[in-house]
């Protein structure tokens, strides 16, 4: 049952991703990408990562995609115009290269995980029941990964300053 639901959302994600890269209109691309992100959030729920699923909807589908749509509308790219998809040669090259990449990536899904790094089954589920969905992610974030967390805050500050400097007409 879970597997069926998982595949349904997986097919939605893959199908809308395909539509996203083949639509001519950038706004249609952005909206199909939003569908992909929502389907991925559903997959995260099925993989026992409810907190990450909520973050996915809030941050990705909410904030980042609104930023994309905002820029598309600011530059007035939604109007009909010549297509930006490359011709037959570009299509052939993209298909061949992407197919080769898929052939390389696909066997990774079948390879068994090394037994030495695997936790006993149910460890993560027990942790999530003890600390809650948010607590099980937040405790390592502010404990083991404290330094990367602080670096991420500096990165976000640098991104804010950089975006203002780049986008401003005259400083």
């Amino acid at each position: 049952m879970t597997l069926t639901v998982f595949w349904i959302f997986g097919v939605i994600a893959m199908g809308s991703a395909l539509l996203c890269i083949t639509r001519k209109n950038p706004i249609a691309c952005a909206l199909w990408l939003v569908v992909t992100l929502f389907a991925l959030a559903a997959l995260f729920v099925l993989l026992d990562a409810q907190f990450i699923a909520v973050l996915q909807v809030l941050v990705y589908a909410g904030a980042i995609m609104v930023l994309f749509l905002f820029v598309i509308m600011l530059l007035n790219l939604g109007r009909p115009g010549p297509t930006d998809i490359k011709g037959p040669l570009g299509l052939l090259g993209a298909t061949v290269l992407a197919g080769a990449l898929l052939l390389l990536l696909r066997p990774l899904g079948e390879a068994p995980l090394p037994a030495g790094i695997q936790l006993p089954p149910g460890t993560v589920a027990t942790l999530q029941q003890q600390r809650g969905m948010v607590g099980s992610v937040a405790t390592p974030l502010f404990d083991t990964y404290l330094v990367p967390f602080e670096i991420a805050s500096v990165l976000l500050l640098a991104a804010i300053v950089g975006a203002v400097v780049l986008a401003k007409r005259k400083l």
Binding site: F6, L47, F68, V71, D84, I160
Partner: protein, 99 residues
Amino acid sequence: MLLSPALAISAVLFTLGVAGVLLRRNAIVIFMCVELMLNAVNLTFVALAQGLGVGGQVFVFFVMAVAAAEAAVGLAIILAVYRHKQSVSLQNMNLLKDG
């Protein structure tokens, strides 16, 4: 149990992102394809976190922070380029090309 299908879906999504980057000329659409690739990797992290500990979910958090920073700076760059060229097509960005 769900690990193998999750990795398969992730591989397909990453490939579609790469195909989009190769296929399109619009800088914003290429940017969206890069976001698609980041999301495919996030799916891998979450799928592996089930068996290998919550560290994978913490990493997804960091990937999202980096993606947000990248989106803000990248879109600012696209805005700056549009002001110079009146276009976001990569065909027109040939300043370093000879001839």
